[in-house]
């Protein structure tokens, strides 16, 4: 029985969602202000506080379960954080400041943080609800994929980061993987055509097959309800044992919406991460700030810092900053920041060394670096990011800029 009583000297803070954002918030707040808060962390998954980014490595068999934790949940509990896992919140009463868990329990709070994250978007393709059509979001998803035995044909929908990670993991497990990607090239939000084709070549060498500019027409379901074939737009059909949906994510806002919080694509928050209700906050992939939603770790960590300060009444404000995307796909480091699709008035500087798996593209506008893609060698990524952040005038180093910090800074000195 959960013991979450009103202690006279502590406020009751409930965090809904024990993913990365929720778990880290619980951990950091406990560390800093544990004496002022009674924290309850509620998760729908059986696993709490693990590092979701590591799922692809887990799938690819590169790490073990022991490598998964993001925070030490045992220690958090020892310190006084209450954790409720495998028990999703079913409803929320903002007026009464009470929520109800799937297990039937009602929990009263003083303050509430929604960290409900997101789910894989399910495309409106016939048969998409079949049991062997799955996302790639949770530890459980990995468990399902891991259970797939032998060399099975698998179809991954989406050539974004998640889709490629799933594809790489599955192909490393010996499966035969076909990736459908609606755009003309892979990772089209992070890469340009040139670097994407370098990546594609590399992934093809691993055995992954790509169908670019293409979405499946439909899924054919067998008698047991499972999808047995993917039908292409050409009419061709491919036999599959499993379909992984990785064509984007949707913020999980069902609970917030039902409770009457103001939402758009996600739960609207202000610069203190406060929702439309004064005692309710939101952060992570489920929140929306100035028309932005969030998928990368860095801004979410910032949100945690801002929220903790806001909770204890210190001054803090969340602002959106360009965030570099640092990826690692199948051992290839990728770095992407800022405006990578040049506007008409932008110029692009290129360096390309296919043999060394090394590509750089910098987008420059009127003496300022505004975007960068690094493929292979990303050591200069943070330097480029700083140049963008600080709006450093790079006019004097344009001839060396693409070669990195070592050259440009040597020149300055």
């Amino acid at each position: 029985m959960l013991s979450f009583v009103n202690q006279a000297d502590k406020r009751r803070l409930v965090i809904v969602g024990a993913g990365m954002a929720g778990s880290k918030l619980a951990h950091d707040l406990q560390q800093a202000y544990g004496h002022r808060y009674q924290i309850l962390l509620i998760g729908e998954e059986p696993h709490v506080g693990y590092n979701r980014i590591m799922l692809s490595s887990l799938l690819a068999n590169e790490i073990s379960h022991a490598d998964m934790p993001l925070v030490d949940t045992q220690k958090m509990q020892d310190d006084g954080v209450l954790i409720r896992s495998n028990d999703p919140v079913m409803s929320l009463n903002l007026e009464a400041k009470i929520l109800h868990l799937s297990s039937g329990q009602a929990i009263a709070y003083d303050q509430l943080v929604l960290a409900t994250g997101s789910r894989a978007s399910v495309l409106s393709i016939k048969g998409a609800c079949a049991p062997n059509v799955m996302g790639f979001r949770t530890w459980h998803d990995v468990d399902v994929m891991t259970q797939l035995q032998g060399c099975q044909p698998v179809c991954v929908i989406g050539g974004g980061l998640l889709g490629l990670e799933a594809a790489v993991g599955l192909v490393k497990r010996g499966h035969k993987v076909v990736v459908f990607h609606r755009a003309q090239y892979l990772l089209n939000r992070q890469l340009d055509e040139e670097s994407a084709s370098l990546l594609q070549t590399r992934l093809e060498q691993m055995g992954i097959e790509f169908r670019l500019g293409e979405s499946p027409e439909s899924f054919l379901q067998a008698a047991d309800g499972n999808v047995s074939h993917v039908v292409c737009q050409s009419g061709e059909s491919l036999a599959v044992s499993l379909v992984v949906m990785a064509a984007g994510i949707s913020p999980e806002i069902t609970l917030a919406k039902a409770a009457g919080l103001t939402t758009n694509r996600a739960i609207l928050v202000d610069e203190q991460m406060q929702t439309s209700h004064p005692d309710v906050y939101a952060l992570g992939e489920c929140c929306e700030f100035e028309q932005h939603t969030f998928g990368l770790v860095a801004p979410i960590w910032t949100q945690i810092k801002v929220l903790i300060k806001a909770l204890v009444g210190e001054e803090a404000a969340f602002v959106i900053e360009p965030t570099p995307t640092k990826l690692k796909v199948s051992g290839v480091n990728l770095f992407s920041v800022g405006r990578i699709q040049p506007l008409e008035e932008d110029n692009c500087i290129f360096f390309k060394d296919v043999g060394a798996n090394h590509y750089r593209k910098l987008v420059v506008n009127e003496g300022l670096l505004v975007g960068a893609i690094l493929y292979g060698n990303v050591a200069d990524g943070s330097w480029y990011f700083q140049l963008i952040q600080n709006k450093t005038n790079v006019s004097d180093m344009l001839d060396l800029l693409v070669f990195g910090e070592a050259y440009c800074c040597a020149q300055v000195a």
Binding site: F350, K352, A356, H358, L398, D399, V402, A406, Y407, A410
Partner: protein, 901 residues
């Protein structure tokens, strides 16, 4: 004279470059696989006392050339010597039989040795019967020869190098000795440092490196030199500094010369105006001239290469005769020659307007004397064709066989197009050379492979009449033979066995010496009779000595005319009445710029030897045209940009070098670059065949040209493991490099990565299929840079850099990457498109060639507080070896001092 004992594997020899004639110690490597160790200066040689300039210091680097001519060739096919000699001798015999002896000509060189010269001259003038024996010396000191002969009755250099150190006033006219005769310049600079009262005046349209030690620089209007000396003559009378006694006892023609001088240059302001100089500057020179008995006038190509070169020489000599400043320590008119053995050629008579041994065809009794000495069957009886006339006669079909030896007329003679037409027309062009590929060997029907410096034995004479040995130490490569041997073989094949059957080189020298003394009895200045019986052992041990060396005077002669006796029939020197005149062609609206030509510091002649030393390319890597910034601005020409120079005779493409060293409306172009090194940089293309009527020396330092910036182009640099054909380039220049091939290029605008790669791919036919080829690419639309690199099996084979504006990129590191056999590291793969490894100091443009110290290093050292050239030398070693960069080093110092002030 003391002689240092040399190890058996070493010899003392003489430098093959300029007319200073420095002694060089040459050592052969311990094993055949090793390169020749660096040479050193001969401490005992009176020309240099151990010093060497940067060119001389780099001699060892030039010995192992990839481009030696190793076998005789006939129409591009290798043939035996026997067959080549048969072809040549039968063709000469045939044209002589059909068209007379003047259908044959030798075109020789101030780089061949006296003995080579002697047998060529003997064969032509005594046995074939033609005086068509001319030489590239025609281009360098023919005017000085005629000037001396008109004044002294003989081609006699009165002075010696010590006089340069002992004079109190040194007037350097038309000489950039700092670069062209560095060791003499350093001796002068050292003397001036020791005696700061010694005055140095430089008379030169350009502000050259030599001006560094000058108390006064007169930047005269090109070619106006004679007016200065015309005025000095009349002023000497005015100031009453003339040596009346000397004039009366030892000269003729003073009054006439004076009258003409007064008429030509009536007063100081007229003269200053004629020369385009400030009156005050002329007043200073005149004052020093009046006050300084010990005056040397030191002159070179700026005087000689002129349509009135002889008159200029005599204008100078007149002044020395009038003041009796001749035949005395520290005084005299001193012509300096540019070649190692131009003097030897003069002594032999190896010029079309000489007979032999300082005798002319017109010298009474000379033809008979020489005929008897040689036992010659077919004596020539009159002057032959001088260089420019010779090549015109070839084009006209009058001369049908020409034997060119050790020179490159396709580069050095004016109006290259005419020279090409002549050689194309000529029935048989024979070229003797060390090199397989020169602009002239390309025109040859027969190629004779010649031995070169370090391989051949013989003598040379330097600018102070000093005869020194060149000594062979290294074996002749391939089938290469000595030039004298080839000449004698042809002579023997033509039926002149007895006169050309020399067993050894010393026999030729002995015969030359004997001819100089034959029935001489003091009548002729050139007498080296002491050597007429020289043995092989004596010849091998010969130490440097100044002629005359008549029998009984083995110590030779330091200075001439000390007794006031000259070699005219009456023993008196002659004044020559001079009217100064300007160059034949003057500026016009159509041809507004006046072109001047000359040498750069670290190259020599047509780069056939200096072009083999990568270090010598560092100081000046590419041919250039020096333009005054004011003119450049008006023409829209930026520094280092490509410029087209056009004259009535042709065009060249050169990089602009903006400099206030040249006056507005004047430009300067160096003479060195041939088609072996650049596609369109042979400056002779622009130069008209205007010659001095007396000496036949071309006015090669003067042409009227037009300049324009070349538009719609981009610049590039290429580093390649293999030689490239660069037909796609508007301009290319190959810069000598330690490894591989380094080119600076200009392409038409609009190149892309793809077009560069296509050009590169077109170059490699063999490897691509077999080996793994990769391309690395960099493109930057903002800076408009494109760079591509081709790796084959992960090693660098080709790099192409493109930039919109000319850039000075240091290619050394890139070139060094060509020879790395292991796969390039990831960071080096990036670095080859940057141009430098991330952690290496960039040297900047090389200033000190000896120690490879660059401008950026020097500036850095100065920024740390170094404020003298000496301290720079202590820190970076720059300037401490040959010292030829000292004038440039000095210029670094004040700039920073101003900044810190």
């Amino acid at each position: 004279m003391t002689t240092t004992v040399m190890p058996a594997s070493s010899v003392k020899t003489t430098c093959p470059y300029c007319g200073v004639g420095c002694g060089v110690n040459l050592t052969i490597p311990d094993s055949v696989n090793q390169g020749v160790p660096p040479v050193s200066g001969d401490m005992d040689h009176p020309a240099n006392f151990g010093r060497l300039c940067v060119k001389g210091s780099s001699l060892a680097q030039t010995i192992k050339s990839d481009d030696r001519l190793l076998a005789p060739m006939l129409n591009g096919q290798v043939v035996s010597w026997e067959s080549a000699i048969e072809t040549v001798s039968s063709k000469i015999s045939q044209v002589v039989k059909d068209h007379g002896p003047d259908a044959f000509a030798f075109y020789l060189s101030g780089q061949i040795l006296t003995e080579d010269y002697y047998v060529a001259n003997k064969l032509a003038k005594g046995f074939i019967g033609t005086a068509n024996v001319d030489t590239n010396s025609r281009l360098c000191m023919a005017s000085a020869v005629v000037g001396y002969k008109r004044a002294f009755g003989s081609d006699t250099v009165p002075c010696n190098y010590e006089d340069l150190e002992r004079c109190d006033l040194l007037i350097m006219v038309g000489s950039n000795a700092a670069w062209t005769h560095p060791i003499l310049y350093q001796r002068i600079a050292a003397a001036k440092k020791q005696r700061p009262d010694m005055k140095v005046v430089v008379i030169d349209p350009r502000e050259t490196a030599t001006c560094d030690i000058a108390d006064l620089h007169l930047a005269i209007k090109p070619g106006s030199d004679a007016a200065i000396f015309s005025f000095l003559l009349s002023d000497s009378v005015q100031a009453d500094i003339v040596d009346h006694d000397f004039i009366v006892k030892h000269t003729n023609g003073f009054e006439t010369a004076l009258v003409q001088a007064r008429a030509s240059t009536p007063n100081l302001s007229y003269t200053a105006d004629f020369c385009g100089i400030g009156e005050q500057d002329l007043v200073r020179l005149v004052g020093w001239w009046r006050d300084t008995a010990k005056t040397i006038t030191f002159y070179s190509q700026g005087v000689n290469q002129s349509s009135s070169g002889v008159d200029k020489c005599n204008a100078i000599i007149n002044c020395h005769l009038a003041t009796g400043r001749i035949g005395k320590e520290g005084a005299g008119p001193f012509s300096i020659t540019g070649q190692p053995n131009a003097m030897g050629g003069r002594e032999v008579g190896g010029l079309a307007n000489q007979l032999a041994a300082h005798m002319d065809f017109a010298t009474p009794g000379a033809q008979d004397l020489v005929q008897r000495f040689w036992q010659a069957p077919n004596m020539a009886t009159e002057n032959g064709l001088k260089a420019v006339d010779l090549f015109q006669a070839i084009e006209e079909g009058k001369v049908k066989v020409v034997w060119i030896m050790s020179t490159n007329p396709m580069v050095s003679l004016p109006d290259t197009a005419q020279v090409r037409r002549a050689l194309e027309k000529c029935e048989l062009v024979i070229v003797s050379d060390c090199k397989a590929h020169t602009d002239t060997t390309a025109m040859a029907d027969v190629l004779f492979p010649a031995t070169g410096w370090s391989e051949k034995d013989g003598t040379v004479t330097n600018s102070e009449r000093r005869i020194s040995r060149q000594r062979g130490l290294l074996p002749a490569p391939g089938e290469a033979k000595h030039d004298w041997w080839a000449i004698c073989e042809v002579a023997k094949k033509m039926g002149f066995q007895s006169a050309f059957s020399y067993q050894s080189i010393h026999e030729i020298f002995a015969e030359h010496a004997a001819l100089s003394a034959f029935e001489n009895n003091g009548k002729r200045d050139f007498d080296i009779g002491h050597f007429s019986q020289i043995t092989k052992a004596e010849y091998d041990a010969l130490t440097p000595v100044q002629w005359p060396v008549p029998k009984g005077r083995p110590e030779g002669t330091q200075r001439m005319f000390e007794n006031g006796r000259f070699f005219t029939p009456d023993g008196r020197a002659r004044f020559v009445a001079i009217t100064p005149s300007l160059p034949k062609h003057q500026a016009s609206l159509e041809w507004p710029f006046t072109l001047n030509t000359g040498r750069v510091r670290d190259q020599w002649h047509t780069m056939t030897r200096t072009g083999d030393a990568a270090s010598l390319a560092k100081h000046t890597a590419q041919p250039y045209v020096e333009i005054h910034p004011q003119d450049a601005r008006q023409l829209g020409i930026k520094d280092k940009a490509l410029v087209r120079l056009t004259s009535l005779y042709g065009e060249v493409l050169l990089k602009a070098k903006l400099s206030r060293a040249v006056a507005p409306s004047q430009v300067f172009v160096p003479i060195h670059w041939t088609q072996q090194f650049a596609n369109a940089a042979v400056v002779s293309n622009l130069i008209p065949q205007v010659v001095d009527p007396l000496s036949g020396q071309p006015e090669s330092k003067h042409a009227q040209v037009r300049l324009e910036a070349v538009e719609n182009i981009c610049y590039g640099m290429i580093v390649s493991a293999t030689p490239l054909s660069l037909a796609d380039c508007l301009y290319w220049c190959r810069i000598p490099s330690e490894q591989g091939f380094h080119y600076e290029v200009v392409w038409p605008k609009g190149q892309t990565q793809a077009s560069l790669k296509a050009m590169g791919a077109g170059q490699s036919k063999v490897t691509a299929a077999v080996k793994k080829t990769e391309w690395l690419e960099y493109s930057n639309p903002i800076t408009q840079q494109i760079r591509v690199a081709r790796l084959v099996d992960q090693t660098l084979t080709l790099l192409m850099y493109l930039h919109p504006q000319p850039e000075s990129l240091m290619a050394d590191w890139l070139i060094s990457q060509l020879t790395i056999n292991t796969a390039l590291s990831v960071s080096d793969r990036l670095a080859i498109l940057v141009g430098i490894p991330a952690n290496v100091e960039e040297k900047g443009e090389i200033v000190c060639s000896c120690y490879q110290v660059g401008s950026k290093q020097i500036k850095k050292a100065i920024a740390t507080g170094i404020c003298s050239v000496e301290a720079l030398g202590d820190t970076l070693k720059c300037g401490t070896n040959c010292g030829s960069c000292l004038p440039e080093l000095k210029r670094f110092i004040p700039v920073v001092a101003e900044l810190s002030a």
